[in-house]
């Protein structure tokens, strides 16, 4: 699926007052006719057809239009059918438009499109697919707009468009004539919609240069608005009192009238997930939620604890094929605990549901299924519902789902008033979505240095892929060369590429259908599957007495992978002398049409492991340095890519060393950031260097999740090398509960009152 760089793109000049150009999204990615026959057997499906392709293919037949508009003041607008949750997609898209039109990035206005049901599968932000799916369409639309503007200017000046140039938004022509591009926005507009084609620039000058985020100024001045910052008339703070177990429903409320009479409380309503309270301030909401006396019905996993779930994963583990005759084996079983993908912005939404219409505001990565479910919940036709996509305060998989938007809809409908519904942090950890617990079992058959086969059985609690990827994948199931696979197994196969030539390769997914609230978490299966694989590779190197980077190099399928390995080896000083108790480790990951290598240095010496931290928190081994080399095919914004890799490194460190949920009788014990130990300043590397490989392909790949899996592999291997014992259960501190759990009832803690004693 390469070779788009020199093709002309078709688009439409729309009949509009000022210039507007629309192009289909996904249109140019048609499934090659011969590909089906050429696809290999199951395990290597991801090599030829990965998730990103699958999402594009699913979108192809529906291919809605996206439009670039040019205004008379010289600004260019584009309503992006994707979510911005910190990954930098609005900045990258701004660059693409500025590139083709030769205007300053400050003249481009990228907004987030409302839910557009006609786009069907094409308004999904997930699978690190955004840049891959919109790179060509956005460039095409802007290139056509450029053509139309130049044609209009040429017409007015009585010259040929080929003699005109655009510099910094000003069109110049023969005889020293020049005028701002916006002055032709009306003349260039279509009177009737007609088809046009154009070719994006052959030699981009902005794409590939490091640019700062377009919203950086708003972020540092407090002007950047998230959902809870929006002012919607009448929308008062609203919170939900939740049960002591996941999915516990309300039986009865003993003191409804008493709580309704509390200061500041305006409304109380029983909804399907608990008791919703609307009040003048969030403090009033917290007080009311804590005062409620509720008899709860049972939840869906009340008896489940870490140990019982682990036992269920062991129970469904299929037998490995017997070792090959004459071969040696490496056998390995790697466990990962549940983990929370809670973003810093908790689940939240504003809803204004009226008898005849509804309006919703939320950060949504899959706004179309959200729109449909919101309409159903509101009892309205989808056409009577408007769903606005708001910038999100992080996602990490969370915002593929619309749990808070549905709750807000239900509460607003029940109360007959607008609500500004926000989850408490404790609820966000305990009732929010979690990354599944998993066990990965690996058998590698080898004969000396010749690897004959690689078997990996990945057992996990069932992952909910329904809302985001669901429609896209379901629509493709019958088109894939696989039979009798579940939806999640298809997802697994299309995301788990094997970067090494390990002979007969067979990776399979086996899920236990337990009803936890699950979702992806900056990668779906990859951190666990790749992490386990990289440990197996490390064990193989040790057994063969080989350098583990050289071994990876020699088995790598792709030259791209060898290049990133060489780069991190060089920049990260692979093989340098390290003091006892410290070590380097390396991991690689291939996904999203991209690849990434991470080299870390870990310090496991007692003085580091036991370093003090004020107040609550965990220390343990510290990754002191990380070096990343990343190849995304076409790097659009290297500065943004570096930022994504930096985040991925901190996620990977947390997953290996510190962060997990302890499931206890149907509820995680974690209820605060001082319980769930995501990487903090005292655990972050002091030195992170990211090298972005120059353009290697014509297809921009994904990057938002790419670096997590490679980091997990690198940190685990480094820990094994530093301590002499390869860890196989993650995070390594999961066996110790390092905090006093908050109570289950009331469900949320009271805010302290001693804040002025902790100033600095």
């Amino acid at each position: 699926m390469a070779g788009h760089s020199r093709r002309r793109f078709l688009g439409y000049l729309l009949a509009a007052p000022t210039l507007a150009v629309a192009v289909p999204v996904g249109e140019e990615f048609a499934m090659p006719g011969e590909a089906s026959a050429a696809l290999p057997s199951n395990p290597e499906i991801a090599d030829l057809l990965d998730l990103s392709d699958l999402l594009n293919l699913a979108a192809a037949p529906t291919s809605g239009l996206v439009a670039v508009g040019v205004q008379a003041d010289g600004t260019v607008s584009f309503a992006l059918p994707r979510a911005e949750v910190g990954q930098g997609i609005t900045t990258a898209v701004t660059m693409l438009i500025a590139e083709e039109l030769d205007i300053g990035m400050d003249k481009v206005r990228v907004t987030l499109a409302d839910a557009r049901p006609e786009l069907l599968c094409n308004q999904l932000t997930g699978g690190s697919n955004s840049m891959h799916s919109i790179y060509h369409p956005v460039r095409a639309a802007a290139a056509i707009a450029r053509l139309a503007l130049l044609d209009a200017a040429a017409g007015q000046w009585g010259t040929d468009a080929s003699r005109l140039t655009i510099t910094e938004g000003v069109i110049s022509g023969p005889g020293g004539r020049s005028a701002p591009l916006g002055s032709f926005a009306k003349a260039a507009a279509g009177t009737r919609t007609k088809q046009l084609s154009a070719e994006p620039k052959k030699r981009p000058s902005l794409i590939g240069t490091p640019q700062s985020r377009i919203d950086a100024h708003d972020a540092v001045t407090g002007r950047k608005q998230f959902t809870m910052d929006l002012r919607v008339p009448g929308a008062l703070p609203t919170m939900v009192c939740r049960g002591p177990h996941i999915n516990a429903g309300v039986g009865s409320v003993r003191n409804l009238a008493e709580v309704r009479a509390m200061p500041g409380v305006t409304d109380i309503a029983v909804i399907s997930t608990g008791v919703a309270v609307r009040a003048n301030t969030t403090t009033h909401c917290i007080d009311a939620v804590r005062a409620l006396r509720v008899d709860w019905r049972g939840g869906t996993v009340d008896g489940e604890t870490d140990a019982s779930v682990r036992a269920e994963l062991r129970a469904i583990t299929p037998p490995m094929p017997p070792p090959m005759p004459g071969a040696e084996t490496i056998d390995l079983e790697v466990d990962f605990a549940f983990a929370s993908n809670s973003a810093l912005e908790t689940n939240c939404a504003i809803a204004d549901v009226r008898p005849d219409r509804a309006e919703i505001w939320a950060a949504l990565k899959a706004p179309i299924p959200a729109h449909n479910e919101i309409a159903a919940k509101a009892g309205l036709l989808p056409t009577a519902v408007r769903v606005h996509v708001v910038q999100g305060g992080g996602s990490f998989g969370r915002k593929l789902f619309h749990d808070a938007a549905l709750e807000a809809t239900e509460a607003s409908k029940a109360m007959g008033k607008p609500v500004k519904l926000m989850w408490h942090r404790t609820d966000d950890f305990r009732h929010g979505r979690v990354h599944p617990m998993s066990t990965s079992k690996i058998r590698l058959n080898h004969s000396g240095e010749n690897v004959l086969s690689y078997e990996q059985r990945h057992m996990a609690t069932q992952l909910d892929l329904g809302h985001g990827f669901g429609d896209a994948i379901t629509s493709m199931l019958d088109k894939l060369p696989v039979a009798d696979l579940t939806f999640n197994q298809v997802f697994f196969l299309t995301t788990q590429a094997m970067p090494y030539d390990f002979g007969i390769t067979n990776q399979t997914l086996h899920e236990v259908p337990l009803k936890f609230h699950t979702s992806s978490m900056r990668n779906v299966y990859s951190p666990n599957v790749t992490g386990a694989r990289e440990i197996a590779v490390e064990m193989l190197a040790k057994k063969l007495g080989k350098d583990s980077l050289e071994l990876r190099r020699s088995f790598a399928k792709e030259e791209r992978v060898r290049a990133i390995l060489d780069k991190v080896a060089e920049l990260g000083e692979w093989g340098k002398e390290m003091p006892p108790g410290t070590a380097q480790g390396i991991g690689i990951h291939v996904e999203y049409k991209s690849c990434c290598a991470v080299l870390v240095e870990i310090d496991c010496r007692p003085e580091t492991v036991h370093r003090p931290v004020e107040e609550e928190g965990v220390t343990g081994p510290r990754v002191m340095r990380a070096t990343v080399a990343v190849d995304v095919g076409v790097p659009v914004n290297p500065r943004g890519l570096e930022a994504q890799m930096l985040g991925c490194v901190n996620d990977g460190i947390g997953l290996v060393l510190t962060e997990s949920l302890h499931m206890d009788r149907g509820l995680p014990l974690e209820g605060s950031w001082d319980n769930f130990f995501y990487t903090r300043q005292w655990n972050t590397p002091l030195d992170v260097r990211v090298f972005v490989m120059p353009k290697t392909t014509e297809e921009p790949g994904g990057a938002g999740e790419l670096g997590v899996a490679a980091t997990v592999g690198a940190v685990a291997c480094a820990y094994g090398r530093a301590t002499g014992t390869m860890p196989t259960s993650f995070p390594i501190n999961h066996g110790t509960l390092s905090f006093e759990p908050l109570p289950r009832v009331p469900p949320i803690p009271q805010s302290p009152t001693d804040g002025l004693e902790h100033t600095f």
């Binding site: 950086a216 407090g222 942090r425 500065r639 950031w673 990487t679 300043q681 805010s751 600095f760």
Partner: protein, 158 residues
């Protein structure tokens, strides 16, 4: 309801609300000042960090009744020079290092960073790695390294 008055970003404000309402919600829910963010409500994540009389504090954990009429509260909105509009050196440093990703925690990070630098200056101590390790503000996007770099740059220009 009791009336509470204090100085917010240089201007006197007053609100009528119950004594126990935490300052964060006075700012956000009643005054519409939304720079300070909610991240936990229990003084753990530090997303709401603001300044009171020049020192960092977390308004999620202070009832409005604890605020005196003479107290000066500064939120991220009040950090830039109020007359010229010129950004604070720490904000400029944040831009220079392109620190923010989603940006949700960054108002709190910047306010904490400014207070940390002032504290180190007052104590005559160096802002070394151990001092930066003490920052408890969570950044779930994982921008920590750029935060550290920006604090060093901002400190130089403060």
């Amino acid at each position: 309801m009791p009336e509470h008055s204090f100085i917010l970003n240089g201007n006197r404000v007053s609100v009528d609300t119950e004594d126990n309402v935490r300052v964060l919600w006075v700012l956000r829910d009643l005054l519409g000042v939304t720079g300070p963010k909610y991240g936990c409500g229990i003084n753990v994540c530090k997303a709401c960090t603001c300044h009171i009389n020049g020192k960092a504090f977390n308004p999620c954990s202070v009832p409005i009744s604890a605020i005196k009429p003479s107290d000066e509260i500064t939120t991220i909105e009040g950090l830039a020079d109020q007359r010229s509009g010129k950004l604070h050196p720490m904000q400029e440093a944040w831009l220079e290092h392109d620190v923010a990703q989603c940006g949700y925690c960054q108002p709190g990070q910047i306010m904490a960073a400014v207070a940390l630098v002032r504290k180190a200056r007052a104590a005559g101590t160096e802002l070394d790695d151990a001092e930066l390790d003490k920052l408890r503000n969570i950044c779930r996007c994982g921008t920590y390294t750029r935060i550290r770099e920006a604090i060093h740059t901002g400190a130089k220009n403060m």
